[in-house]
């Protein structure tokens, strides 16, 4: 928090002295930096990207996962009359009124990483982030390939109510039913993006089901928790593990052959895409509403094409 306050303060100071015509001031309110490595890496990547761009002053804020605080931060940024606001929504529904306020004040809003609800789309300039439905679809296809279209699987999803978790689960479930009717999804339980929680859930699954052929986890952090549990029960060999948001631990597990595959999603790409989208909007370019950066499948076959994630 302290660091952020200092950054914010220094950014304000900078913006007073360097209020040149060609310099944009962009405010960003993030979801919950520090809760996981992805968000932490995103923040530093965003700062680097802004420095590289040269003509941008940034005001970096973090909502700490708190919707009310994020709405307050939106209002602060509107008061400061920044040129554009980037928001990583803590909740896809509750932040819409604040986004509308910015829209009415003539400040373009770019939503990053996690979508907001339909009702808010009219008030935003653009969305930039991963296509989480597509990620779920890709994971379902990987599962289908790995199991040859036959088997029983369980799912460990992300935080209940969080858009990313819902979209990945929806994409996965729909595509699986369509492409792979022979694969049965036995049960889904939330793992809250938390490895220890996922490990406990998987231990209970292993007790409950004598036969589990595959696990789909909403991210690799949880996927590795499930792998830990299966190893503890000596059943890791018979189970296919597929995750999303490839973490370093997931990357290593794929390398060791314990983990079938994941979705490669770089927080650096995510942050750079968000800033670029905001800059394009400010430059008056014709920006599409939905801007997805690429998040390819990663398995043992193409592992070499990707750098080991830094988180």
């Amino acid at each position: 928090m302290l660091k952020k306050t200092i950054i914010t303060a220094s950014m304000l100071a900078v913006s007073v002295t360097a209020a040149q015509a060609d310099t944009y001031r962009i405010g960003i309110t993030q979801n919950n930096v520090g809760v996981d490595s992805y968000q932490t890496t995103y923040e530093s990547a965003f700062e680097d990207a802004a420095e590289e761009a040269g003509n941008v002053d940034i005001v970096v804020l973090d909502a700490g996962g708190d919707v009310a605080r994020q709405i307050g931060q939106m209002q602060d940024l509107i008061q400061q009359q920044v040129d554009a606001i980037i928001i990583w929504p803590t909740n896809g529904q509750a932040v819409i009124p604040a986004i509308r306020q910015a829209h009415q004040a003539g400040i373009p809003v770019v939503v990053t990483n996690s979508k907001i609800a339909e009702a808010g789309l009219d008030f935003i300039a653009a969305f930039s982030g991963p296509d989480n439905v597509q990620q779920g679809i890709s994971s379902a296809e990987m599962m289908c390939d790995a199991l040859d279209g036959e088997g029983q699987i369980v799912q460990i999803s992300g935080q209940p109510g969080y858009t990313t978790a819902i979209e990945r689960a929806t994409g996965f479930e729909e595509r699986l039913a369509e492409a792979c009717p022979g694969v049965e999804l036995l049960e889904t339980q939330p793992g809250n993006w938390n490895r220890e929680r996922a490990q406990r859930v998987m231990e209970d699954f292993l007790t409950k089901y004598d036969r589990i052929d595959g696990v789909y986890a909403g991210d690799d952090n949880m996927g590795v928790g499930a792998l830990n549990a299966a190893k503890g029960a000596d059943r890791a060999d018979e189970i296919i593990f597929i995750g999303a948001t490839n973490f370093a631990v997931g990357y290593d597990a794929i390398e060791r052959g314990e983990y079938y595959g994941s979705i490669y999603q770089s927080p650096v790409d995510d942050a750079e895409a968000a800033l670029q989208t905001a800059l394009d909007v400010l430059a008056g370019e014709d920006v599409p509403k939905m801007n997805f950066f690429e998040t390819p499948k990663i398995t043992a076959e193409n592992l070499g094409e990707f750098d080991r994630p830094v988180f």
Partner: protein, 336 residues
């Protein structure tokens, strides 16, 4: 508090038979709940009472249980410790991160030392400066969260070589067919129970929590007693961090957050009074196991895990109510 529990001669008891039943329920009520719950769950899930499931549940509950053993001592001494959840994050991140940097032995030693230091700070502020324990440990809860974020920079920490380290023993190992976390939990519980019930030190903690003034006049060094309970609590957290870090072989900054409430729920369910001066480690062990079995049972029945919070609430209210009803020999209040 012990004096308050003695029946007052002039109190209208009226319903003797019911009182007898209630006193049985309040003394053993939690065990009755426990057994009833087990039976109900076993109807709905055939795996519930299988040996492997029981082992899984006890192993999962052992992290909360280990911490609860320490916090029970703090509570018997008349104080609270809400900082244990954050402390667990801190200690787990520390031991996992240092594992690859300075080797497992040094990492464990340093982790224990630093965790005990946090406990000592709590103990000093509450024991010697006589600050309110709720405030001190609540402030400590957020202070340590900040510390963890500064230390880790918000990044997850992992142990690189998970197969080749003996550190795996604490969370994943087995000794004589029993999982090591269960052994650590069991040993700690037995040890602390003996200390609390059979030694002068234990009796002094009860005395300090029950009637601090009387304890001081009897020549008990209250400050040191309170101070020491926080060292015990910190020691238990360090043991739990060992198990958790080894079990997961990695750590997030928010691991352990909210555990302080699970720990308290287990202790209250067991029947240890939050007012201090009464309680036992056995009760806490049972309380923690009930929490574990509720969570597991609901999951086996296919409910999402958060339904346990509601069920736990109902059971806690019932447990507290029965306890109170027994003390006043009536189910409802005697006057409005």
């Amino acid at each position: 508090m012990a004096s308050a529990e003695q029946p007052k001669p002039g109190l209208p008891t009226g319903k003797l038979n019911k009182a007898g039943l209630m006193s049985f329920l309040s003394a053993q009520g939690i065990l009755v709940f426990f057994l009833l719950g087990m039976i109900v769950f076993s109807f709905f899930s055939e795996q519930f009472l299988s040996q492997s499931n029981i082992m899984t549940v006890v192993r999962q509950a052992s992290i909360i249980g280990i911490i609860a053993v320490g916090v029970t001592v703090v509570i018997i001494g008349g104080n609270l410790d809400l900082s244990v959840g954050s402390m667990l994050s801190f200690s787990t991140v520390l031991v996992v991160d240092l594992h690859d940097k300075i080797g497992p032995t040094n990492a464990i030693l340093l982790m224990f030392a630093l965790t005990l230091m946090i406990g000592a700070v709590n103990g000093f502020l509450i024991g010697f400066l006589r600050l309110n324990s709720l405030i001190v440990t609540l402030a400590m809860l957020s202070a340590i969260q900040g510390l963890v974020l500064i230390y880790s920079g918000g990044q997850n920490v992992d142990i690189a070589n998970q197969e080749g380290t003996w550190f795996a023993f604490f969370g994943r190992g087995y000794l004589g067919g029993i999982a090591v976390p269960i052994l650590i939990f069991g040993l700690l519980a037995i040890l602390v129970q003996i200390v609390m019930s059979r030694t002068g030190y234990g009796r002094r903690i009860f005395a300090v929590g029950g009637n601090p003034m009387a304890a001081v006049y009897s020549g008990i060094r209250k400050n040191w007693c309170v101070f020491s309970t926080y060292l015990i609590s910190a020691f238990c957290v360090a043991c739990a961090a060992l198990v958790l870090g080894s079990r997961v072989m990695g750590s997030q900054n928010n691991v352990g957050q909210g555990y302080e409430l699970l720990v308290l729920a287990g202790i209250i369910l067991g029947g240890t009074s939050l007012l201090g001066g009464a309680g036992s480690i056995w009760k806490t062990v049972i309380g923690v196991l009930i929490l574990g079995f509720i969570q597991n049972g609901l999951l086996l029945m296919g409910y999402p895990y958060y339904t346990q919070w509601i069920v736990t609430w109902v059971i806690i209210i019932l447990a507290v109510w029965l306890d109170l009803a027994n003390k006043r020999k009536r189910l409802l209040t005697t006057h409005s």
